[in-house]
Symmetry: C2
């Protein structure tokens, strides 16, 4: 592998000048710059990232941390989209994204990786109450942004989120408005804010309409989990006429369950989901749902992280986006 020294020698300049020419080129004469880039080309020179980051103290890569079992990461379009957007936005600044899936016992491993400063910063998505990620990241001193409100004191970390409470209310209102009076919900996991907040919204809307909020069952944001949860919900409350599922994947599972029980959607029972990431449009019938503003959230998360990396901002910031209703046929 050619080194900077060889490039400099071939170009007839000093190592310092070669370095400057390669990185930005300010304070370098056009002649020198040309000679260097010529030398780079003929030698096929690639800078050694280890040597570079040893002195710059930057690695030019960022972790996308997902504290979830990988089967979920790979089956929920939410993560695919997030990774896609994050990768795209950060690649504009030539930052490499490293996907860190911390399943089960792997958490310690992941923390070791972050502690070792293999990355300049981290974006955390889908964090659970039990992983003390905000604390750990603070202890490590690594710039970070959460996608989805973290379980910690509000003003300690930067995050982006969608207005899940408001969206939960709005979704429930759709059911109320079409005349449903016995409305159940398949909630998300109680240890995740997204699940919890949507449930809160559902409760609030029911309360405002004087309806019972007893028909609640907790799902796990997966399709199979949604089907199971739906079964339990119907067993306990056979006469439901509306269900709010906290994710489209769970709604798809519910749809399967309802079909098996001979219930027609939306005639016998209306169903509204959450996310609108493709699944909703593909089910039979297509799901009425709330959008999950992933693109906006992920983009903003990158912006916030970049600001931290640049040293522009230090104080934690939060940005909240509003989901929108998408009417299809299930409700």
């Amino acid at each position: 592998m050619p080194t900077l020294d060889e490039v400099a020698r071939l170009a007839g300049v000093s190592r310092a000048t070669a370095s400057r020419a390669i990185n930005g080129g300010s304070r370098v004469s056009a002649k020198a710059a040309e000679a260097v880039s010529e030398a780079v080309r003929t030698l096929g020179y690639t800078p050694n990232p280890a040597a570079r980051s040893l002195v710059t103290r930057r690695t030019d890569s960022v972790a996308l941390v997902v504290p979830e079992p990988d089967e979920r990461v790979f089956s929920d379009p939410f993560f695919a989209r997030t990774l896609h957007v994050v990768t795209r936005v950060l690649s504009e600044r030539d930052l490499q994204v490293v996907l860190l899936i911390a399943q089960g016992g792997e958490e310690e491993r992941m923390l070791r990786y972050l502690r070792g400063r293999h990355v300049d910063g981290a974006i955390v998505v889908s964090h659970h109450r039990s992983d003390a990620l905000p604390d750990h990241l603070a202890a490590i001193g690594l710039p970070n942004v959460f996608i989805g409100r973290p379980w910690t004191s509000e003003d300690l970390v930067s995050y982006v989120d969608s207005d899940n409470v408001g969206a939960g209310r709005q979704a429930t209102r759709v059911l109320v408005d079409r005349g449903c009076r016995r409305i159940g919900t398949i909630a998300g996991p109680a240890d995740m804010h997204a699940g919890w907040d949507r449930l809160t919204g559902w409760r609030a809307e029911l309360a405002e309409n004087g309806l019972s909020d007893e028909a609640m069952v907790e799902g796990d944001f997966t399709e199979d989990g949604g089907a199971v949860a739906c079964g339990r919900l119907l067993d306990a409350h056979p006469h439901l006429d509306g269900i709010f599922a906290a994710s489209d994947l769970m709604a798809a599972g519910a749809l399967r369950c309802l079909g098996e029980r001979g219930l027609r959607v939306p005639d016998d029972i209306a169903l509204i989901g959450f996310d609108d990431l493709g699944t909703a449009a593909r089910t039979l019938p297509p799901l009425t749902t709330m959008t999950n503003p992933i693109v906006a959230m992920a983009t903003e998360a990158c912006r916030l992280l970049l600001a931290q990396l640049d040293g522009t901002t230090t104080l934690p910031r939060r940005v909240v986006f509003a989901p929108e209703l998408v009417r299809r046929t299930s409700a």
Copy 2:
């Protein structure tokens, strides 16, 4: 951040001894080792990976290269499983896996990353004819193993594969044996060996039984693509009584299409898939299919790569695993 120097000073030994104590500890007295690990603990020391890899010329990380659009990577359980297994096997050697998804124009970016020696080696999965990945990797001189036979001269690269030709034959034979005589196939992309070989197997088995191999349509290994392909297949050949789909995802799409056309599976038309990664068991009816020996392939790929990294092997090697038939109800 504490450095090795500080650790050494606190432990009352030289930097050299501290380094030895931290890495393996051979040729270090028990007393010194204890003092060092004590110092490491109190200081919260973590080695600087950049400094380390500058001298060792290793990065202790390995790329999993997937030259596919990310929506496919995240919707096909094949990749999730592969990543899972690779991560697990390599983590035993404390190697970090970096997922490199090279979609569209990102290919150059990915090559730059590999050329920059950010990783010690690469495992490539799902390679297409057009990406000149084998050549590029050879040019870079990066140890690598392909999962799935690459498009290049056989003995240039190491790879693991499953016997797709044989499995294609066997799947087709299942249809023949149950009495099907007009057998179509939804093939994989022609620029991927897995697709091509399964098609070859299908052709061979039909030929041996004196049946026509005209009913062929190319899919893209996705569910939606499978549905579309199935539609085209039926339009061109309305009287098929059996279909071999080159992946379960495509078979699931076909199932949807067949359902919409009022065709019962397997009574009107038998269907056999490929992969058996969960999807097959969840469809209605459950799919008869061929297993895709991912665990074996991924594990072996890791072994082959590790051998290259250790310098144990230099010559390219190939290992082929045999898929097995799983009988369910669709055929």
